[in-house]
C-alpha cells in the first residue's frame, strides 16, 4: 500500500511546474511504470503527484532532415509504431518496441524513462548515442551533460522534460542482453554513425549510469564493422557486479553487444 499523497492534474506545463515549485516533495507522474512501482514498495513517498497525462502538447513525434523530436509523454508503443521514427532512425523504433512488455509499452513514456535515469533503462542509451538534446520547460540540455549518476540527472527538482530531440544518424543499431528475470538491459549498447569518422557508442546496464565507450568509438570511427567492435577490450573498472553478472562479464558483453549492434546497423531488420 502506498503512502498517502495528493493528486494534482495541471492543465498546462506552466501549471505543472508551479505545482512542483509549491510542494518540495511533489513529483511529476508520467506513465508511472517506475514511479508507481517504487511508491507501492514504499521506496518513494511524494506528498503530491503532478499527473502530466492530460498535457496533450507533450505527446507527439515530428521530424526533419537533421533530427526528430519526440514529446516527453509519447508512449513506447507509439514510438515503436511511428512511421517517422521507423524511417529516420529504425534502431530507435526497435529499441522502443523492446522495452519491458507490451502492456508496459502502452503506459511508459520517453520523458519518464529519461528523467528517471534508471541505470539499466534502454532509452538513455539512445539519447546519449544519438547526441540527443533534452528539451525542458526552461532550457535545452545536451545528453553529454544530462545523465549524472545513479537515477541522477541535470534536472532541477521543479523542472519537467518536455521533449527529446534525436540527431538523425547515417546508421545506428541497438542491442541488449536482457536480465533473465527483469528483462532490463544487463548490458545494452547503442551505436550510431553520423558520417565518416563520427561514431558514438552509448552503454546502459553495465555501470552506475549510461556512459560513452571511448575505445569503441575510436575503433569504429576508423572502420564501422562488427569485427572491429568485438576486438575492442572494454575495461571492467567501475562496472556493476551482482548476482546476474560480474563486472568482467559485463565488460565482455559490451563489445559483444556493440558488435551485434553494428551488424544490425549495417543490415537493419524489423526486430532486434
Amino acid at each position: 500500500m502506498m503512502y498517502e499523497f495528493a493528486y494534482v492534474r495541471p492543465a498546462s506545463l506552466e501549471d505543472a511546474v508551479r505545482a512542483l515549485r509549491m510542494h518540495s516533495e511533489a513529483k511529476p507522474l508520467a506513465g508511472g511504470m517506475s514511479l508507481l512501482s517504487a511508491m507501492k514498495l514504499r521506496l518513494a513517498a511524494p506528498t503530491h503527484l503532478v499527473d502530466l497525462g492530460r498535457l496533450d502538447g507533450l505527446a507527439g513525434i515530428a521530424g526533419n532532415n537533421q533530427a526528430i523530436t519526440i514529446g516527453a509523454m509519447t508512449r513506447h508503443a507509439d514510438v515503436a509504431a511511428s512511421p517517422i521514427v521507423r524511417e529516420a532512425i529504425p534502431a530507435l523504433a526497435v529499441l522502443a518496441g523492446d522495452i519491458g512488455d507490451r502492456q508496459v509499452r502502452h503506459r511508459g513514456t520517453l520523458g519518464g524513462s529519461v528523467a528517471n535515469a534508471d541505470p539499466a533503462a534502454c532509452y538513455p542509451a539512445a539519447v546519449l548515442g544519438l547526441a540527443g538534446t533534452i528539451i525542458t520547460d526552461r532550457r535545452h540540455i545536451g545528453s553529454d551533460d544530462f545523465f549524472r549518476g545513479l537515477y541522477e540527472t541535470a534536472l532541477e527538482t521543479d523542472e519537467i522534460v518536455a521533449a527529446v530531440e534525436f540527431t538523425r544518424p547515417a546508421r545506428a543499431g541497438y542491442m541488449k542482453f536482457p536480465h533473465p528475470a527483469s528483462r532490463f538491459a544487463l548490458v545494452g549498447v547503442f551505436v550510431a554513425e553520423f558520417g565518416a569518422g563520427n561514431v558514438r557508442v552509448a552503454v546502459t546496464g553495465a555501470g552506475p549510469r549510461v556512459f560513452r565507450e571511448a575505445r569503441l568509438e575510436a575503433a569504429l570511427a576508423k572502420e564501422f564493422t562488427p569485427t572491429v567492435a568485438s576486438a575492442v577490450a572494454v575495461s571492467a573498472e567501475g562496472l556493476n557486479s551482482d548476482r546476474a553478472a560480474s563486472a568482467e562479464y559485463r565488460a565482455h558483453l559490451v563489445s559483444v553487444m556493440a558488435a551485434r549492434a553494428v551488424a544490425w546497423a549495417l543490415a537493419p531488420t524489423s526486430q532486434s
Binding site: 500500500m1 502506498m2 503512502y3 498517502e4 499523497f5 495528493a6 493528486y7 492534474r9 507522474l29 508511472g32 511504470m33 508507481l36 512501482s37 507501492k40 514498495l41 503527484l49 499527473d51 497525462g53 508503443a77 519491458g100 512488455d101 507490451r102 502492456q103 508496459v104 502502452h106 503506459r107 528483462r183
Partner: protein
C-alpha cells in the same frame, strides 16, 4: 485524500470519489465489481490484472484509478456477447490453454489486444508479445496454440 472519477467499465459509467492511492485493479474489483480481474504479483510483472484502457492492454495494478478518469475500460466480463464466448475465450477452452486459471483473464485480455493489432502472427511473435504475462502451470504451449487459432479465425472473419 480523495479524487473524483468518471470511468466507463464494460459500457457502464461509474462516477464516484476514490482514494488517490487506489489502484485501477482495486477500483475494478471493489467499486465496479469486476472480480474477474485479479491481482497476481502486485509489482507489474505477472500481467494477471491486464485490462484494456481506451483500447490498449495495460496492467491495472500499476495505474492509479485517477489516471483512468474519463477512460473506457474493458475487462474479462465485457468480452462475451449474447451469442456466447468471445472467439479468444473459445480458443482457450478448446486448446485447454489453462490449468489453475489464475492468469487466464489477464492473458486473454492481452491476447485479444494482440490479435486486434497484429495481423501477421507466428509462434515466435506471440511468445514475444505475451512476455508480460506469467503462467506457472501450462508451460505456455497451449496458450500460444489458442492465440494462433483465434488469430486465424479473426483473419478468416475479416
Amino acid at each position: 485524500m480523495k479524487t473524483a472519477v468518471s470511468i466507463i467499465v464494460n459500457d457502464r459509467r461509474c462516477e464516484t470519489e476514490v482514494p488517490t492511492t487506489m489502484l485501477l485493479v482495486d477500483f475494478l474489483r471493489e467499486v465496479a465489481g469486476s472480480k474477474g480481474t485479479v491481482v497476481g504479483c502486485d509489482t507489474g510483472q505477472c500481467g494477471c490484472c491486464t485490462v484494456h484502457v481506451d483500447g490498449d492492454a495495460v496492467k491495472s495494478c500499476t495505474m492509479l484509478t485517477a489516471q483512468a478518469d474519463g477512460a473506457s475500460i474493458l475487462t474479462i466480463e465485457g468480452l462475451a456477447s449474447a451469442d456466447g464466448m468471445h472467439p479468444m475465450q473459445r480458443a482457450f477452452h478448446e486448446h485447454h490453454a489453462l490449468q489453475c486459471g489464475y492468469c487466464t483473464a489477464g492473458i486473454v485480455m492481452n491476447a485479444v489486444d494482440i490479435v486486434t493489432k497484429h495481423h501477421e502472427l507466428d509462434e515466435r511473435t506471440i511468445r514475444r508479445l505475451i512476455e508480460g504475462n506469467l503462467c506457472r502451470c501450462t508451460g505456455y504451449s497451449n496458450i500460444v496454440d489458442a492465440i494462433l487459432e483465434a488469430a486465424r479465425e479473426a483473419k478468416r472473419g475479416a
